[in-house]
Symmetry: D2
Subunit: 392 residues, 4 copies
Amino acid sequence: MLNGEKRIPRPLRWAMIGGGRLSQVGYKHRSGALRDNTAYQLIASAFDIDAARGRDFGVNLGIPAERCYDNYQQLLAEEAKREDGIEVVTIATPNGTHFDITKAALNAGIHVICEKPLFFTSAEAQEIKALAAEKGLIVGVTYGFSGHPLLMQMRAMIAKGEIGDVRMVELQYTHGFNASDSVDKFSDAQKWRVDPKIAGPSFVLGDISTHTWYISQLVLPDLNIKSLLCDRQSFIPSRAPLEDNAMVLMHYENGAVGRMWASAINAGSMDSQRIRVIGSRASLEWSDANPGELKFEVQGQPNQTLYHGMPYLDESALADERLGALHTEGLAESWANIYLKFAIAINAMQNGDSKTLETLIYPDINAGAEGVRWIENCVRSADNGACWVNYE
Amino acid sequence: MLNGEKRIPRPLRWAMIGGGRLSQVGYKHRSGALRDNTAYQLIASAFDIDAARGRDFGVNLGIPAERCYDNYQQLLAEEAKREDGIEVVTIATPNGTHFDITKAALNAGIHVICEKPLFFTSAEAQEIKALAAEKGLIVGVTYGFSGHPLLMQMRAMIAKGEIGDVRMVELQYTHGFNASDSVDKFSDAQKWRVDPKIAGPSFVLGDISTHTWYISQLVLPDLNIKSLLCDRQSFIPSRAPLEDNAMVLMHYENGAVGRMWASAINAGSMDSQRIRVIGSRASLEWSDANPGELKFEVQGQPNQTLYHGMPYLDESALADERLGALHTEGLAESWANIYLKFAIAINAMQNGDSKTLETLIYPDINAGAEGVRWIENCVRSADNGACWVNYE
Amino acid sequence: MLNGEKRIPRPLRWAMIGGGRLSQVGYKHRSGALRDNTAYQLIASAFDIDAARGRDFGVNLGIPAERCYDNYQQLLAEEAKREDGIEVVTIATPNGTHFDITKAALNAGIHVICEKPLFFTSAEAQEIKALAAEKGLIVGVTYGFSGHPLLMQMRAMIAKGEIGDVRMVELQYTHGFNASDSVDKFSDAQKWRVDPKIAGPSFVLGDISTHTWYISQLVLPDLNIKSLLCDRQSFIPSRAPLEDNAMVLMHYENGAVGRMWASAINAGSMDSQRIRVIGSRASLEWSDANPGELKFEVQGQPNQTLYHGMPYLDESALADERLGALHTEGLAESWANIYLKFAIAINAMQNGDSKTLETLIYPDINAGAEGVRWIENCVRSADNGACWVNYE
Amino acid sequence: MLNGEKRIPRPLRWAMIGGGRLSQVGYKHRSGALRDNTAYQLIASAFDIDAARGRDFGVNLGIPAERCYDNYQQLLAEEAKREDGIEVVTIATPNGTHFDITKAALNAGIHVICEKPLFFTSAEAQEIKALAAEKGLIVGVTYGFSGHPLLMQMRAMIAKGEIGDVRMVELQYTHGFNASDSVDKFSDAQKWRVDPKIAGPSFVLGDISTHTWYISQLVLPDLNIKSLLCDRQSFIPSRAPLEDNAMVLMHYENGAVGRMWASAINAGSMDSQRIRVIGSRASLEWSDANPGELKFEVQGQPNQTLYHGMPYLDESALADERLGALHTEGLAESWANIYLKFAIAINAMQNGDSKTLETLIYPDINAGAEGVRWIENCVRSADNGACWVNYE
């Protein structure tokens, strides 16, 4: 179990770009990074496109006013001049800015933690991957739901063969908060999500399905898509060509099949994200609505529910436990877990600890690139009449 | 509420073909038809391909031995000679025999209640539809889950616009009882289900998805498919070409979309059948695992659960109620409800009551034909590389 | 599994007293008794205090008009004159009449099936027990929830020691249908339930908690109360002295403890009845809201859910199965199971089959007497300031 | 919504006594206090009875080694000498030490945050209350589950009359982690919980039921107990006289009744804590196993579920929201909310802001004293044969 004791010699000097007062996600980054004050310290920021608001916000969080910068360019330039300048930066800005900021940060020698979807194209992802490798820097991607301990349990049980051969992967991330177009009217801060210039080639595919897609890769690291078909809709016409609903079918290389349903128009649904992996012997199912429970259903036996924090779990799941059995863990713990792993990776990179880098499981540049690839293939299919396409 | 009092002047003289001692479904037919002894009396049978076993079984149910016939031909021939001969017959035999037996019964002037999937082809369905019309006889189809009162509630709420415009229909009927091929070995009585000569062109599409498909038509009578795509698999290779798993995507004429997942390899799942209808304002969701509950989820409001038997329900739902609130209803009540409607339809036909025939909602020959059409279109898509096909 | 085949040589000739058109419970008796037409045939009745309405109702159920009697006295007298007269009668009248009618029926040589609570006093119960023994007749009591197959599973698992030593028994039967006193105003047919002259010394204790109390005895046949304490309330003052809410604490002879909560003012609750048995190793929990599921929770292991109809169940549970796994069973199946056992007991009594009588598990006169005793002890405690009383 | 921005001018200088590396609860304190780094900074400690282990632990959390003290006496003495000495201290030591440490801290002019149960006797609580008032210091009590936003929602809905008149309060906090006595053998760090000298006069009553008891006071601030009865057991005999199971009945002054069940031997249960408040019109139910859901059940209407973070909630609930709808909150957010309120109270006290002190709702010295009073009354009843006692 994690109890806040340091896992790296000292906290990393950390800054945030974006994620300010109006952001939905900024607080999750801060809660994740600063959970224990032994992995990161927040010392600089460029929180907001409104520089004054961003500075006020930063000061309210305890950042010295002089390190609350007007924009990311200034942040990178000024911090580079300091001996105690930042080592790692989080990018929580709209999608369309990720590439430029990441590139600039890496070129400034700064490790990057970036929101999903990482970039617009696989070409961009490959360019950044090469740059990060050249610079010896980490790029982590905040698939923020992927740190729940029971996902490690799922991975371990599948790896041990407890469900038999994988036959089907059922994925879902849906909600109804954009069922009405009136939402777009009052929420200016969210409007960019359906503007292709800023959001990229997709809405729900990029905004939410990338989370579930990464979770499927986390628990099924050896499963690769051979071909897929994506059918997407814009039920609020003004969102076209970006989709508010998408249905994907997948064929995996091993003969398994899969489905993904992503939606922002699933009116009234509060279930959110679900993954079910069906094997020849049993199934495993997990939902982020009850992240501390894992259903294990062996055909012909009583159904089982496993709970977080219990001694019967795999050590990889218990290693990420914070509160203990009966004490509900939520999304904040998941973010804290992945931020801690980013810190461990960065520390390992700083110290040339290749063994840690090879074995640590976290959403890295490859995970980010795979998310971009997933969107690209889905969009290519959807834009060709929802036809089957080979996974490229 | 229904309390067993007669709804037609006298019980119909009824026989069963198939559905004997080894049948999974025969008892459901008898429980449905004989629930109150005011709609049917069971007076003749040809229960079994093993005639002696069938006779022994019939006698054990209280049928006179001389009316426990060796086969359906004998049943129809001998009963035709009696003044008190049967008026209606249930066909609960393997799929491949439905057409011949139905045709023979109709030609003998007997109303028919038949298992799903009704026939192999739409051409057969149209031929029988014409024959039934010519003879003035009813053909009912035992979509046995469709009699749950809360499905009438769903239909009423959607018709009243309580969910807004329909955008997506999410359908599922899955289980894991055929996850292992060893099942086929010990269960000789079920082997025919994966033999195309007896089962027809599909396994799970016909065996289970037709139930859910009919339920979707029941609650959404005005929604028509424009095109669909079906991807099917045979995870147990010996079942090929019949599928043990199928994933379908649908485009409806009004712009709504849909999904169906049918599976017999969903290892460990005990959830069975589920329908969710998503509108622009709210969603409705029902599962046959908890048939007395209906979820009503209005975006932006607390989620609601409606319970069977409660005074706030639509009168069409309360009309089919038998046990009352807090008293769990199960599948047997659903069967009883549809069997009662068959009897009311038959009585109306016998009495030339066209008004009843026009307004009564039950799974009739059209519902059976639509199920066959659904399978045909799915199989056509699947056998053409899981491509989109226009719904024909 | 049960499939309707005869379990006794011929159906018993059966009549009903009470349970007519306005009754909440009459239909459950008929559904239970007539489920398969191989255990009972309904041939006579005195359904209603309004004789004309009762006759009309009986005729609508298919009973010959001449055997739809005006009252129970006439029923017993006239049927006694017939060679094909009734053998067994169900008493579904208000509580205050059970004793007189039961006594009259037994004296007429007729087996009795009676609603709970059986009588007002233990003295009455002992008198009837002696009379039934003298006459060689069965008295069954319709604890209608007690026929669910998973209760036999609970009994078997506890007997095998799967939960260890029993430490606590948690019982609950609550609803909110009488939260408002306005209910009493419009429901004349239910008013008697809070009239001590007709209902007896209790409302919810007798009306509902006796069900759950019997279920606890069914699954824990060796557990005996040593002392108890009952605290009861009349939240609608006009109901006093009869309670609409009661809380009971129990000490069992083996050192275990227990609780019962019975309520008709649990506003909005749709959960109904629940039993949890806690052992030193594990707990078992069952609710009639989901009667086909049984929770088995072993401390330190994943929680399990067992489902009705599955091959892993005890043979005693599978023996009472009717519809099979995945096919929802409800309250009607439970009633059918206990009515079938009544018939088997009556047939055994008629044939001097003492072995069957000794081993058959069903709610007999002793179960009915224990229910009366339970109420008596609760009321004695409640009326003495909710003090502890030795169980007498 | 809370996003980490400062709510008080600067973070409070904070120390911990107890709650070190082997503690179950220490991490919850730190996660709560340090959630946003704008309310507290952890600068000193006396974490452990093993001073070296405590110092090592403190250093690993980032505390300067020279401020990792050997014991609380040294901590208070040395910090008093510093200009930047601590302002507030958390006491997370075994129960028996709370009184002495609290008294010493208050006498040193330090605000106190203390674990529950606060002290052994009401006399001690009154003494400390007087001392804190005299010194102008805050004493907060870590009823750590009481910060869930939906509890404020419950409080608001009850206050607005949405459930009508309160009739019954159903409380439960149970688990099975001490079902076996073998637990005590291997867990030395937990052994003190059943030693009366250290734990005080109760085990589960103090250890867990005080949480639920406080929650009931939080949501029902105007409901007062008139009399109660407590029946307690020691199923593992070596724990006697301390109970591992307790059942309490309550009579409130307004005529409502209540129940509490506290247990550490509820084998296999993972449900933990539950509160249901039943009114004349509706009921509200909340469980810490799903703290983001609140059931609202109006008699005669569809049941409702309210979700955290939704705009339809009361502003008092939304004020404590951190992650937003669909994003699971857990126990850590609850702790963060109460720690933030402690900080606001301390800051108000420091600034003579009596208005804030009068209106802020948080577990203060009175809440702690009420918990001690609750235990005292329960134990007095239990030790007098589980008799009714007037609430003193």
